[in-house]
Subunit: 360 residues, 2 copies
């Protein structure tokens, strides 16, 4: 992808600060390319970045396994690895689009990126350890820690998130140690992080030090209170872990309030994705959602990565404000909703956004 | 300035959403040029944008004046006008740089811009009305309104801000109806707004409908509670209105986390300004503030506008993270502080920021 990537590199404008410490930094989505460079990839951190030396690092694999393991960095590097582009999207991406103003980090459209990750499939390590019968969940624990407002366990805790065993054994779940061909940077989880293709970013635990297999469902803070939404079962709402990335198309160009020339052709351009399925199609509207036209998809479909698309817009001769929108449908037939479902709280925000431009 | 402006136009990346409704939009400061295009100028609104037709609009001038006036839009257009580039900076610009995370809109470095404004000096209108002896303040009232959390006057109120009479009579205070050569846009105060050169943006009231001269100091919500800081008089702190823009240099390039080539020359580039004085000099540090070098100022000094500067950096051959900083000194001898004074609350944030880059 490197050749295509270079053509998009001209207009890069740096990360947007959403919070200074801990660093929460957003990719300027107008700079979209096939692969997001590491120094422009969004950064989401809950606590200060732990300083870990590769030679001091170990990964403990324990719980419901036949053989507990303590792997060193060199052990991991000697195991079979795969490299693949995988999209990570923060579960709160798009929060700045909510009205009224939401609490939490107000990400606009740039808490998402696709990088090439290299790592050992978690299944290889779990098979080496031997998962016992009756195991249900696999917990990732990071070295990052701090105080949280958790009524169940107050005090200092580590960041933790679990996967059901079936997902943990899938090939898109990696213990990753390289990003875009280089060692992870401290911001992105050095020396080793989880990469969970198809799920929102909170599952891809950074600075990973413990993998624990459990016989009972895990109910940690970041899946039962935070990163959880109201799922209704016979109208009774239950807080349920946010997991799979929802289908979404985002517009990179035109940017908000961009001046577009009347009577000419303009290339509307963006990306679309869906967690565990592929993008089947993207449509664009330039009249605030009244009419929609199909937008050609670019390149080939790559599982768990985003798909670029473009739309040649014949810009009208009538000047004024125009509302440009895009929406995607995936291969399971899901399409984007018209508005945000409040049961999702401020997560999984995938309604079709509007980009207002000035035709002049 | 238009020729120079066009060379910077290539990399524009659209406004950053800080709040969707009411619209609070930030200029991506990495796109810095001599004049900020209207569609990239930061937008700060407190309430929904009032829809006003020019033919329905009037400006009432009342209070401590000999002759109350009601001016129409055409009346205003027939009066003598001036055009000048004037910088506007939100009093909360840089708030995202505060640690711990501040409340309020988390502007990074883009709640600032310089546009060319055309309008009638307020002094012309006040002289026409005849200011009475003993007058002290001139209140601007906008058509925008809503509920605020003001213990003194709960309920729906209009946005209001005052100037002392001496400032109100200065030539840099305009009743502006054009921005960058065109009618104001709705976001920027159509049909008429105040422009108060040298003061933070909250003084430049948009959608202006009333100018009221008073014999007693005005103590409105937006100068006694909001947009107010703790001024210490013999250690007793008093909430005092935020007024004059503080001296500041900001870096446009390199952008945060930008990759910079080792062993080559790199052009560090930015702008500097100071409210009611001129920029005397800018210094740049590439070693986190240990050593500083003078950065040449570009073009000529224009009162109340920003001044561009550049610094040719001989990038070391040693790769790694570098901290780039800039600081300005004005003609009154003020320079930027090393850290934020908490008495300023989350306003007037002008300590020297750090841009961390990757030399590779």
């Amino acid at each position: 992808m490197s050749e295509a990537a270079s053509m998009f590199n001209a207009s890069r404008a740096g990360l947007i600060i959403r919070e200074k410490q801990p660093a929460n930094l957003e990719f300027p989505f107008a700079s979209l390319g096939p692969v997001t460079p590491t120094n422009e990839f969004f950064v989401r951190t809950h606590f200060p970045v732990p300083a870990i030396r590769a030679r001091d690092w170990t990964l403990t694999v324990d719980g419901e396994v036949e053989r507990g393991l303590v792997l060193t960095y060199d052990d991991l590097l000697r195991m079979p690895a795969t490299t693949a582009p995988v999209l990570l999207e923060c579960a709160g991406n798009g929060r700045a689009q909510l009205v009224p103003k939401a609490k939490g980090l107000l990400w606009d459209t740039g808490a998402v990126g696709t990088a090439e990750w290299t790592g050992v499939p978690l299944s290889v390590v779990l098979e080496k350890a031997g998962v016992k019968k009756g195991a249900v969940d696999v917990i990732f624990q990071g070295a990052d820690k701090g105080e949280v407002d958790d009524p169940k366990s107050p005090g200092v805790v580590h960041f933790e998130r679990s996967l059901p065993l079936a997902k943990a054994m899938r090939p898109e779940v990696l213990l990753a140690y390289r990003m875009n061909g280089k060692d992870l940077t401290p911001d992105h989880g050095f020396p080793v992080r989880a990469i969970v293709g198809g799920w929102y970013g909170m599952a891809s635990v950074k600075w990973l030090t413990h993998v624990t297999v459990t016989a009972t469902p895990f109910e940690g803070f970041w899946q039962s209170l935070e990163y959880a939404y109201w799922k209704r079962d016979r109208e009774r709402p239950t807080l349920t872990a946010v997991t799979e990335v929802q289908v979404k198309a985002q517009i990179a160009r035109p940017a908000l309030a961009e001046a577009v020339q009347a009577g000419k052709s303009y290339r509307v351009f963006g990306a679309a994705w869906s967690g565990e399925s592929d993008v089947a199609g993207v449509e664009v509207s330039t009249d605030a959602g009244k009419t929609w036209s199909e937008a050609p998809l670019l390149g080939d479909s790559v599982p768990f990565a985003w798909r670029l698309w473009e739309f040649p817009w014949d810009v009208p001769k009538t000047t004024g404000r125009y509302k440009v929108m895009a929406r995607a449908t995936d291969t399971k037939g899901h399409t984007q909703p018209e508005k945000h479902d409040s049961d999702r709280r401020t997560y999984m925000i995938n309604f079709a956004f509007t980009v207002e431009v000035e035709v002049m």
